[in-house]
């Protein structure tokens, strides 16, 4: 009953907020629609369209025409992909002033993030599980699997491998991808395509400053040489002193009245290199990041900025890709990756606890694509990875509580057929068999793509996926202090059903509607063992999620780019019949980029509404509406771009749910903040 009452109270407040949201969105739309026409009332509409007939062949070859690679592992148009797909381009990243990969993902229909001032976690369609270090979403960089082999994590905040300025395009494929990608492709597959040297064509220097003594620099060199070799080298460096933060859970004389000073400090640097020569691509990336933790997690001392985590990860990949006369496509890759984490946790003197993880892995993959007759397109291949090291440890001056050394290997084989039954009907069927830890899993996928009319496509999608428990979930225990391992964990599995309708309202404006149902079994969940009070992962939950998403994505002739979406999802734990924690029922997003002065000055508005989320104590983090504004000037002086962003424009107070290690039920996020950046190119 109490639950019911609280529910009603917050519904009322959500309505008020929504009115504000409504007004704000209408205002933004009005601005976006009126600004360009006021700024350039006499400009011929045709002029905004690039005149391709006056372009050279070389220039024509550089124009992006929008295909998507990730959904089927080969290039195809978004409407032909057997999934619900969103594509974000370098242009969106630049004009919206996105600084981290998390910034990009927050703008994607159905996705949301949770930041605990240590790491940023990615949630999708109502799933943002406590203790999940993004292990249920597969993130690929140019096809390389970035999820490491201890936590299965790819960090999307400061510890993300790439500087987002080096991203050419991001393809977000919703739904399970295990039939092609194996483990971790549970809720979504995200493929990041990086820029090539020719996209930079010279040297690019970027310098940025933001409040709280935050500075960032980037040095990039890129060139395509006469012999055909293409090289990109880049280095970025970021450091932020961080703000003084107040936490009312610690508002007592002994804990500095809840004020943590210099405890939100962050530093990271990234190195990225890519060499393309003929059919070969060699890539290397590395990131080092240190974050001080102001929230005093796991009972550490509040306002002691020595508590911190350090993560570093990197990879080296060699890829060969060749198309034999349009008859057979071959892709082969060999890679090596490494990950290291070390955490220092300060307890009352003289206790200092050290926690670490160390992973090394290498592997290879092979993929073939072949046309069979006129109507079949086959794709098949295999992957093998050996995890040379998957170690975890925990110690202090009094002893070693965990010294777990592991190694393992896994492999998978897959086959998919895209059968074009008629001009209107395409059926995509595929399956992949994986063997992890000696356990096998087979995951099928079926997609029926039907062209209703020239401008409408209906997709009916069924997919299954799995995620093998990672070594952290299986073997992490800190000697009876907070957590213990569970080596018997089985993989969790998901079945998804989705119907997607895509309609080209105009050639440059696409509307998408999607209805989906997810059924998850054996969900690996952090629980507390009543016998010893320790946190332990168990295959207990059975969860159902049902929802829908509506969106539009388009670019008008006057240059206004609009993305808008609404998503609704109801998650339900089948045992408790309760909604999951950190699961917003609804989200609405609006992104508009409008030219103020043609080709020179752009304004980008971003509005994000995230519905309320239950916290671990069954309270909730309030729904919020966030606005970000970026003004971007291109060539304000010769070869100089400038960008200015205001995040959280209306200084909205909001927070993300905390996890079990936090005293805070809700962790307050940043208020209004600024970012200014200059980019200079030497040609």
């Amino acid at each position: 009953m109490i639950y019911q009452k609280r529910k009603q109270d917050c519904t009322a407040s959500t309505t008020d907020r929504s009115k504000v949201a409504l007004l704000a969105i209408i205002a933004a739309v009005a601005i976006a629609l009126t600004v360009p026409s006021q700024a350039a009332p006499d400009v011929d509409q045709q002029a905004d369209e690039p005149d391709y007939f006056n372009m050279s062949i070389e220039d024509l070859m550089r124009v992006n025409v929008g295909t998507v690679y990730s959904a089927s592992k080969y290039g195809q148009k978004v409407s032909e992909a057997p999934s619900s797909v969103t594509v974000i381009t370098a242009d969106d990243i630049q004009k919206h002033g996105y600084r981290t990969f998390a910034d990009i993902m927050r703008s994607i229909p159905g996705f949301y993030t949770t930041y605990d001032r240590n790491y940023t976690y990615l949630g999708v369609r109502g799933f943002g599980r406590p203790g999940d270090y993004n292990s249920r979403i597969l993130i690929l960089i140019d096809g390389y699997r970035t999820n490491e082999n201890v936590y299965g994590a790819t960090y999307i905040g400061g510890a993300f491998l790439l500087d987002v300025d080096l991203i050419e395009r991001v393809e977000i494929v919703r739904g399970p991808g295990s039939s092609l990608y194996g483990s971790s492709a549970f809720f979504a597959v995200i493929n990041i395509i990086t820029k090539a040297g020719r996209d930079i064509d010279g040297i690019e220097l970027a310098a940025a400053a933001a409040d709280n003594q935050t500075y960032k620099q980037r040095y990039t060199y890129g060139k395509q040489f006469a012999g055909g070799a293409d090289l990109l080298l880049s280095f970025s460096d970021y450091h932020s002193r961080g703000d003084k933060l107040y936490f009312d859970e610690f508002d007592a004389a002994a804990t500095n009245y809840g004020i943590a000073r210099h405890a939100d400090n962050e530093k990271h640097y990234n190195v990225f290199s890519k060499l393309i020569y003929g059919d070969f691509t060699v890539q290397g990336a590395f990131v080092w990041r240190q974050k001080r933790i102001p929230t005093a997690p796991w009972g550490t001392v509040f306002n002691d900025n020595r508590t911190r985590t350090r993560d570093k990860t990197g990879f080296l990949s060699v890829k060969y890709e060749h198309d034999f006369d349009g008859k057979l496509g071959v892709m082969a890759r060999a890679y090596y990756g490494a990950y290291h984490y070390d955490g220092r946790y300060i307890y009352p003197e003289p206790y200092v606890n050290y926690d670490y993880a160390q992973g090394h892995w290498m592997g290879t993959e092979l993929r073939f694509t072949k046309r069979l007759g006129k109507r079949h397109k086959l794709i098949w291949g295999g992957e093998w990875q050996t995890d040379l090291q998957q170690d975890q440890g925990n110690y202090d001056i009094y002893g070693i509580y965990l010294d777990d050394e592991r190694e393992s290997e896994h492999w998978g084989i897959f086959l998919q057929d895209e059968y074009q039954a008629t001009d209107k009907l395409t059926v995509v069927a595929g399956a992949r068999r994986d063997v992890y830890w000696g356990k096998a899993a087979t995951n099928p996928r079926l997609a029926v793509i039907y062209k209703l009319a020239r401008k409408s496509t209906l997709k009916l999608l069924y997919g299954e996926a799995f995620r093998a428990a990672n070594v952290y979930e299986k073997y992490y225990g800190d000697g009876g202090w907070s957590q213990k391992g569970n080596p018997g964990l089985s993989p969790e599995t998901i079945k998804t059903y989705e119907a997607v309708l895509e309609h080209d309202i105009h050639d440059n404006l696409r509307g998408t509607a999607s209805v989906f149902m997810y059924e998850i079994e054996d969900l690996i969940t952090a629980t507390t063992d009543p016998d010893d009070g320790l946190s332990v992962f168990q295959n207990i939950d059975e969860v159902k999620a049902r929802g829908f998403e509506l969106g539009i994505d388009g670019k008008a002739k006057n240059g206004v780019r609009t993305r808008a979406s609404y998503s609704f999802v109801k998650t339900e734990n089948q045992q408790t019949h309760k909604k999951l924690g950190n699961s917003p029922q609804d989200m609405a997003k609006l992104n508009i980029i409008a030219p103020i002065i043609k080709d020179k000055l752009f304004a980008a508005v971003e509005l994000q509404h995230v519905g309320e989320r239950e916290t671990l104590t069954s309270h909730h983090a309030d729904a919020f509406l966030l606005a970000n504004l970026t003004i971007f000037g291109k060539n304000i002086a010769k070869n100089l771009d400038a960008s200015f962003t205001v995040y959280n424009l209306f200084d909205k107070t909001y927070g993300d749910p905390g996890f079990s290690e936090h005293t805070q039920d809700v962790i307050t996020q940043n208020g209004r903040s600024f970012w200014a950046e200059l980019t200079y190119r030497f040609k």
Binding site: S18, V29, V63, D507, N508, I552
Partner: protein
């Protein structure tokens, strides 16, 4: 699915409003991919030499035929005002192979006597809709000075001259110089140099 709260309805209304606004605002724009391909075709006319070129003058337009379900829409509109090698470019849309053959006959009857060969068209673009009839189409123009272009997979392997491929979201093309030779066409080196692949 039941929509519980007013806020949901409100938000839906907002989305609908935005859709309407954006839809009203966005004007039809030919698909970018085919705008690009149209511009490529226009460029091909410049970099391929026809046997008739020497004799032809401003009175002989270059005929660019599109066979099948036309994906270009208005992409060729700008070509009306342009000259290639001092000649106008005329775009003809053909719905079937029969029309292609007919075009040849009428051309034969009508074309300036100064030009020897019965001309169907200078450039023939074969749309994806004609995938199944590809062999017959190529047979219909075999050994004639017609630059055949398409974006059907395996087009140049079947005997076509230029094929569009999409590579990392960008339009590229492949050329079969063997097929060009059969058609007595000369593909200039400037064009060959930019091809993703050349079959000899």
């Amino acid at each position: 699915m039941k929509l519980k709260s007013n806020s949901t309805v409100l938000l839906l209304a907002v989305i609908a409003l935005i859709c309407a606004a954006a839809a009203a605002h966005a004007e039809p724009d030919s698909q970018q991919e085919y705008q690009i391909k149209a511009a490529f075709l226009y460029n091909f006319l410049k970099f391929v030499d026809w046997p008739e070129d020497e004799k032809a003058d401003a009175n002989n337009p270059i005929i660019l035929a599109i066979l099948g379900k036309d994906p270009f829409e208005k992409a060729f509109d700008p070509v009306k005002d342009k000259l290639v090698k001092g000649r106008k470019v005329v775009v003809k849309r053909l719905s079937s192979i029969a029309e292609l053959k007919k075009l040849g006959e009428t051309a034969k009857a009508r074309i300036d006597k100064q030009i020897d060969a019965p001309k169907k068209c200078n450039l023939l673009f074969v749309c994806r809709s004609e995938k199944d009839a590809l062999k017959d189409i190529l047979k219909a123009v075999a050994h004639q000075p017609v630059l055949t272009v398409s974006d059907i997979d395996g087009f140049i392997e079947t005997g076509g001259i230029i094929n569009f491929v999409t590579d990392e979201q960008k339009v590229r093309f492949e050329v079969s110089t063997a097929a060009a030779k059969n058609a007595k066409l000369k593909v200039r080196s400037q064009l060959l140099r930019l091809a993703k692949k050349v079959i000899k």
